[in-house]
């Protein structure tokens, strides 16, 4: 029998902002523990929030073995790795003062807007170890804001959002970034005629939902996916590489290993490589069942059995700037496109609530609402231009994806 522990600790100080002022301070320090036992190709799991009694948790996990949940693979073993990315940031007790000053500056610089929602100092620590020689440790700390904004004259519930999550803090650069976006938002520009244009997304917001549903191993293996029986086929642009990335330099507050302790080479696993579907994503048990390689894509509740989940999907960067990818055209930077989806056959459509026009170096103004459409084989095929290394935003380190898509006035 192998015993395995997973401790996940969340330490957060979160400020709630109402009407551009701090309304509340929330402190959280919660550790969740998972104890897994592996025996006779079965798994038993018990979980605890906060403190627990070792013998009781073990008894519970042992009893869970009798539930008959198969686990016909060996737990991860013989690997020790540590990544501690915590750097000194603002002390929790200074957060109200610092963010209070940031908001005061924002009120002065952008007097036509109301801001609300959360600003946080967040710390995570994840430790996974077992008696088969596995010990993986991760710790991280970030500072973040996710502020929704609204013009004072607007009758909408809110008009858009500005924010950041970084391992650094620079009030001036944050204000520069917010000003860049809000000044552009204040400047209305006309929608170009209906047609095909380069559309820009922050890479984390790119519409990759079809890959998440369609490249799930069990669905793909059983023929339920648009991509079933297409492994090895070039269906997308040669420059398009898509997969999972847990590289600590790229991903915040999320460990470099999955819930089963799988660590991928370079922390990445490509599902689509140079336009060719290479593999689905799966946990170890699903991989075993359908004859795939595990992709390190297991997630688990603190008291749950690991299950398949794509962790931090990403598109490979191409080394070009946004200006280069736009190739002299103006691009449509989508800031908010809520509610759209793919049909089962891969057609995609969504209304775009907030978009800014950009020449690749500047934001030129706000477009009226419009509808966006394409097809998964087009937007990531002929229409795929690439992903920048970073943005032109002063503070945030995100990258941007450029896809040619069809826009139409509503």
């Amino acid at each position: 029998m192998i015993k395995e522990y997973y401790h996940a600790t969340v330490i957060d100080t979160t400020l709630n902002v109402v009407n551009s002022r701090i309304e509340s301070v929330r402190s959280k320090n919660i550790t969740k523990t998972s104890l897994r036992v592996y025996k006779d190709q079965r798994i038993g799991v018990a979980g605890a929030i906060g403190s627990y009694k070792e013998d009781e948790l073990l008894k519970e996990a042992m009893e869970a073995l009798d539930r008959g949940i198969d686990y016909p693979v060996a737990p991860s073993s013989q690997l020790t790795m540590t990544q501690d990315l915590r750097k000194p940031l603002i002390a929790p007790q200074d957060l109200v003062t610092e963010f209070g000053q940031l908001l005061e500056s924002l009120r002065e610089l952008q007097p036509n807007y109301i801001f609300s929602n959360k600003m946080s100092l967040s710390e995570r620590s994840n430790i996974l170890y077992n008696d088969a020689g596995l010990k993986l440790e991760y710790a991280d700390r970030t500072i973040s804001a996710g502020l929704i904004f609204k013009e004072k004259s607007s009758t909408s519930v809110f008009d858009g959002a500005v924010g950041f999550r970084e391992r650094k803090y620079d009030r001036k650069l944050i204000l520069d970034e917010f000003n860049l976006i809000l000044n552009a938002y204040s400047e209305k520009v006309s929608l170009p005629p209906n047609g095909r244009y380069p559309v820009v997304f922050l890479t984390e917001d790119a519409p990759v939902g079809k890959f998440i549903t369609g490249l799930k191993a069990d669905v793909l293996a059983k023929g339920g996916s648009l991509f079933s029986e297409k492994i090895g086929q070039r269906l997308f642009n040669e420059a398009f590489t898509f997969g999972q990335c847990l590289d600590p330099q790229e991903v915040y507050l999320s460990p470099f290993f999955d819930a089963e302790g799988v660590v991928n080479n370079g922390y990445t696993y490509n599902l689509i490589e140079d336009g060719v579907i290479k593999a689905p994503y799966c946990d170890k048990k699903t991989a075993h069942k359908f004859g795939f390689a595990p992709s390190g894509s297991a997630a688990a509740a603190y008291d749950g059995v690991p299950q398949t989940a794509l962790l931090h999907p990403t598109i490979k960067k191409c080394g070009k700037s946004l200006k280069e990818l736009l190739g002299g055209q103006t691009g449509i930077f989508v800031m908010m496109a809520a509610g759209g989806d793919f049909t089962p056959q891969g057609e995609y459509a969504t209304p775009v609530q907030v978009a800014l026009l950009t020449d690749g170096e500047r934001l030129l103004g706000r477009l009226p609402e419009f509808n966006l459409s394409s097809h998964v084989y087009d937007m990531f095929g002929q229409g795929f231009r690439g992903v920048t290394d970073r943005t032109f935003l002063p503070f945030s380190g995100d990258s941007m994806a450029v896809l040619e898509m069809n826009i139409a006035a509503p």
Binding site: S24, S27, I49, K222, V305, D341
Partner: protein
């Protein structure tokens, strides 16, 4: 119970949670667990800032409280603060799910219920992949406040969801079938509705055609109407977006005409099911709140804080997803009141349009959206063929004014998967529903 310091408003919310989750994939057991915990969320208000702490150790509540008091500044006049004055005070013990508690049902019975669907799921060659999920959850809440509230009440839901992936050659469809209510005994356990739904899905997958984008008349099923009520208007009725915002206060003046004359939308926390909360997480008693009555803006949803700041009455809508979060303004069970026509009469009145039966998800901003799954084209008053639609959308006020027909049946729905999301707090159990609703024009893509 606890020592509440003078000069502050304080409340302590203790959550005792029980949940069963059972999951099978293609008949193989993937998950079978019972989650139990007891934890607390604590709030201290000094008239200037709120201070919150979450703890999983209920024996440490007093220590956590004392830490929060140390961060706040005592306010001798706190009892006269408008928000503190507005808090309701109740002493009540309202445990409705003692005898019918899901914690009293053996897990084997829950597994057996899911297993009863396996033969049907396995019988269809076109059904390539399926997952069967059973979830129940019971929560006993205890609330103490420095104003004297002492409440204990319970909420409960139970249900199952069958997620299915169909395929026939290049044709694909992902659909689900879900039943949920407030007790295990009350769950529908017969298999005929599932069989019918599977046949409907296969027919849809085989015959669905692409939609020609444009503006059309749309008829929403009770499920779609409920999502519409929730997304299009419910979120706009959450008054935390209005606090300190003069434009919104004027724009959303009570008494304003906001929809067609036949439209009434209600939010109510007393309806058993996934939106049931007899008291909210601040101890305000649930009640029926009309948001729109006969097309007129009649009310909105409040926490104690927003009600006091906007000088309106309490509604019982301060809710948190669990002990780790503070209560914010949320919906409970939101629905459109039924009308007088039959579903068939609504369809007969459509020259070119669509019937939306099931929906994958929705969103609600200035433009609200729904992503349909099963949808059908209507031509000259008849349903003629299934269609693949990515999204239907509209602007809220325009769409509410374009409702010209409501069927005479009200269907209220509960859920055990998914839930409502608002900023960081997801998923919150809610209920919604309505009759069949006809909208004269919506964007269909």
């Amino acid at each position: 119970m606890y020592t509440f310091q003078k000069g502050f408003y304080t409340d302590v919310r203790i959550e005792e949670f029980y949940e069963t989750t059972i999951t099978y994939t293609l008949g193989q057991l993937d998950e079978s667990k019972i989650r139990k915990y007891k934890a607390a969320f604590i709030r201290v208000f000094d008239g200037s800032l709120w201070y919150y702490a979450a703890t999983s150790d209920v024996d440490q509540v007093q220590n956590e409280l004392d830490k929060l008091y140390g961060s706040a500044r005592p306010n001798p006049d706190i009892d006269n603060h408008p928000v503190v004055r507005a808090f309701e005070v109740h002493q009540d013990n309202k445990l409705c799910y003692v005898e019918s508690g899901v914690d009293r049902v053996p897990k084997a019975e829950k597994e057996k219920l899911l297993q009863s669907f396996f033969p049907i799921l396995n019988a269809q060659p076109a059904l390539k992949m399926w997952k069967a999920i059973y979830i129940d959850a019971k929560k006993i809440m205890t609330l103490y406040t420095s104003k004297g509230t002492q409440l204990t009440y319970d909420t409960q839901r139970a249900g199952y969801a069958l997620r299915m992936n169909f395929s026939e050659g290049e044709k694909k469809l992902s659909e689900s079938y879900q039943q949920a209510t407030d007790t295990f005994e009350g769950l529908r356990k017969d298999t005929e509705p599932l069989q019918e739904h599977i046949q409907k899905c296969i027919d849809f997958m085989t015959h669905a055609v692409p939609v020609k984008p444009g503006k059309y008349t749309v008829i929403l099923s009770p499920l779609a109407a409920g999502i519409f009520a929730h997304e299009s208007f419910g979120h706009k009725s959450e008054s935390d977006f209005m606090v300190g915002d003069e434009t919104m206060i004027k724009e959303w003046a009570i008494g304003k005409k906001v929809g067609s004359d036949i439209l009434s939308i209600v939010d109510c926390g007393t309806i058993p099911g996934s939106g049931y909360v007899p008291y909210d997480d601040e101890g305000t008693k649930a009640r029926e709140n009309y948001l729109i009555k006969d097309g007129i803006l009649t009310g909105r949803l409040h926490s104690t804080s927003t009600a006091a700041l906007l000088q309106e009455g309490l509604t019982g809508n301060a809710r948190a997803i669990n002990f780790e979060f503070e209560p914010i303004v949320r919906m409970t069970t939101t629905y459109i009141k039924p009308g007088s026509q039959t579903k068939e009469e609504l369809i007969e009145g459509v020259e070119q349009g669509f019937l939306i039966e099931t929906v994958n998800h929705g969103s609600g901003l200035s433009t609200f959206t729904m992503a349909p799954s099963l949808a059908y084209r209507i031509e000259n008053g008849k349903v003629v063929e299934p269609v693949n639609i990515s999204v239907i959308s509209g602007t809220v006020f325009e769409t509410l004014s374009l409702i010209d027909g409501l069927s005479n049946e009200l269907k209220l729905l509960s859920f055990v998967t998914g839930g409502c999301g608002k900023m960081e707090q997801y998923p919150l159990p809610v209920g919604f529903g309505g009759p069949y609703v006809r909208v004269r024009s919506m964007m269909v893509q």
